[in-house]
């Protein structure tokens, strides 16, 4: 194939590359759609909301300052960070061995593991959250099971509190971590590991000194993507959390639905958006964006 390709080249110059004038034409529909359906609503929402603010600029700055230093906002900020960090650490601990297994094992068991990660990954978010609500409820499977074997007398509170949010979000975000780690680990050269072994390193020593450092790149990418997705989470914490587990996204929704305060919602959205895009820029620097959804 390579030989015939080179032989043909004199007759058909750089033909397989889309000619320069065609590229913008091919990209135009996608860019137009993203601008019209995504960028324009976003910009309009922020600009118009701030412009329609009744009162002077000075009033606006004072009110914005009050809002960003108000107790509910600061509490939600702390809660969001705490939950996002805990979820990131949890899925990293749970996911690392699974990704390691996927990257090193062979045979049909690998397909089974991939399927058990991809099926929940693609199942509707609301369905996954509902499943956990059924499992963790006061008369859910876990409480009933524990009571049936007399391990507990009264039902445990597993939901409508911080624990419920952590369980639900870890479950939903684990596939992102595993797929990101797996993509990075697949790139680790097995010859290096064999070399370490042939030089007399034990299995654990090779893992600790060779494999793990080489996988740190994937750990960073995975942690970033899970953290980015966590801080904007709404559905799972809204359904599984209690009144002390208000995350930023829920506060934004509440400003809009309960208080109907558009400027406040826009201001909080803007702060969340800036942090998210900042972290995405970091993600862009450390990893290949094409791995964002773990497409194989």
């Amino acid at each position: 194939m390579t030989a015939s390709g080179t032989a043909l080249r004199p007759f058909a110059p750089p033909a397989a590359k889309a000619p320069r004038e065609l590229t913008p034409l091919l990209l135009l529909p996608a860019i137009a759609m993203l601008v019209l359906m995504f960028l324009v609503p976003m910009v309009l929402f922020f600009v118009r909301t701030f412009m329609e603010f009744p009162g002077s600029n000075a009033d606006f700055v004072v009110q914005a300052g009050d809002l960003l230093f108000s107790q509910p906002y600061l509490t939600a900020l702390a809660t969001t960070n705490w939950i996002a960090l805990t979820v990131t650490a949890t899925v990293l601990l749970i996911g690392y061995p699974i990704a390691y297994y996927l990257a090193t094992a062979t045979g049909p068991s690998v397909s089974v593991v991939v399927l058990s990660i991809v099926l929940p990954y693609l199942t509707s978010l609301i369905v996954r959250t509902f499943s956990w609500m059924v499992l963790l409820g006061e008369h859910g499977l876990i409480n009933d099971g524990l009571r049936a074997v007399s391990l507990i007398a009264a039902p445990l509170t597993l939901m409508y509190n911080r624990l419920g949010v952590l369980i639900g979000m870890s479950y939903v975000l684990l596939p992102y971590m595993v797929l990101t780690l797996y993509a990075a680990m697949r790139g680790i050269d097995a010859a290096i590991l064999r070399a370490a072994a042939s030089l007399g390193a034990s299995g654990f020593y090779t893992f600790r000194r060779v494999y793990f450092p080489l996988s740190l790149h994937g750990v960073l990418s995975g942690a970033l993507i899970v953290y980015i997705l966590s801080i904007g989470y709404f559905i799972t914490p809204a359904l599984m959390g209690g009144q002390h587990d208000i995350m930023i996204a829920m506060l934004i929704d509440r400003e809009l639905e309960v208080a109907v305060d558009w400027p406040a919602a826009a201001l909080m959205s803007l702060s969340l958006l800036v942090v998210t895009l900042g972290l995405y820029a970091a993600y862009y620097r450390v990893t290949d964006v094409r791995r964002l959804i773990g497409a194989r």
Binding site: M1, G5, L8, A12, A16, A18, L22, T23, L26, L27, P29, A30, I31, M33, M37, P41, M42, F45, F46, R48, T49, I94, P97, I98, V113, S116, L119, P120, L122, T123, S124, L125, I126, V127, F130, S131, M133, V134, H139, L141, G203, I228, I231, G232, Y233, F234, I235, L239, I252, D253, A265, S269, L273, L277, V289, R290, L292, I293, A295, R296
Partner: protein, 268 residues
Amino acid sequence: MRRRWAALLLRLYVATACLWLLAPNVIIVILAFSGEGYLHFPPSSLSLQWFARFFGDVQWQRALLSSLVIGGIACLVATTIGFFAAYAFLRAEFRGKKLLLSLMLTPIIVPSIITAIAMYYLAGRLGLIGNFLWLGLCHAAIAMPIVLLMLLAALHAVDPNLERAALGLGGSRLRVFCRIVLPIALPGILSAALFAFLASFDELLIALFLAGVHAQTLPVRIWNSLNLQIEPTIAAVSAFLIGVTTLILLADGILRHRRGRRHRQTAG
């Protein structure tokens, strides 16, 4: 010896983790067939009563229809537009390519509550709340980056030399595109289309804000009933959605298999 123990321990751990990952889905599917009046596991009898209630209820029927129509629009638009973009990204070299790609992927990253509110703001101004076509286009904007990423991975395997050869033999660009590029890329395009449909079919927040009364989708109806009271019909609806996801994964597996075979044929 120690090594073997470690390997065994790892297998055991991965098996447990997989059970944990699959258990919620499996339990919901079993509960959907419960013969009892409330959600209790394991059910003492089996029946199809909740499915009958789901498919027999006019409101659930309407939600299913809305989901299908909106998903269809999103899938068609996102796949067509995403395919052209993916093709340009693969075959053309231009400055700022990586940056442009990462910008085009931002809908995946931006918290969906912000996207939903912004789209709600615009749709409200334009009087388009509850409009199927508009909601479909909004979902297409979210699904397009997913199509783009999947096609970038899938079309990577299509050999540019084949196009080069066909063009060298005198085929017009349009003819080469229709007779060479499209047929080879087709399994990948179909896979991407399935996932674009799924992205819209499962999407909740944008639909929640933009659906109004008329265009409520299945996830929106589930959300509304979860916030009121948990009724067992939701288990049947959930089982249905899990079934759709499983079917799409299955179809994707078959398409992947065919793609692999074709790739080997063209390479060999």
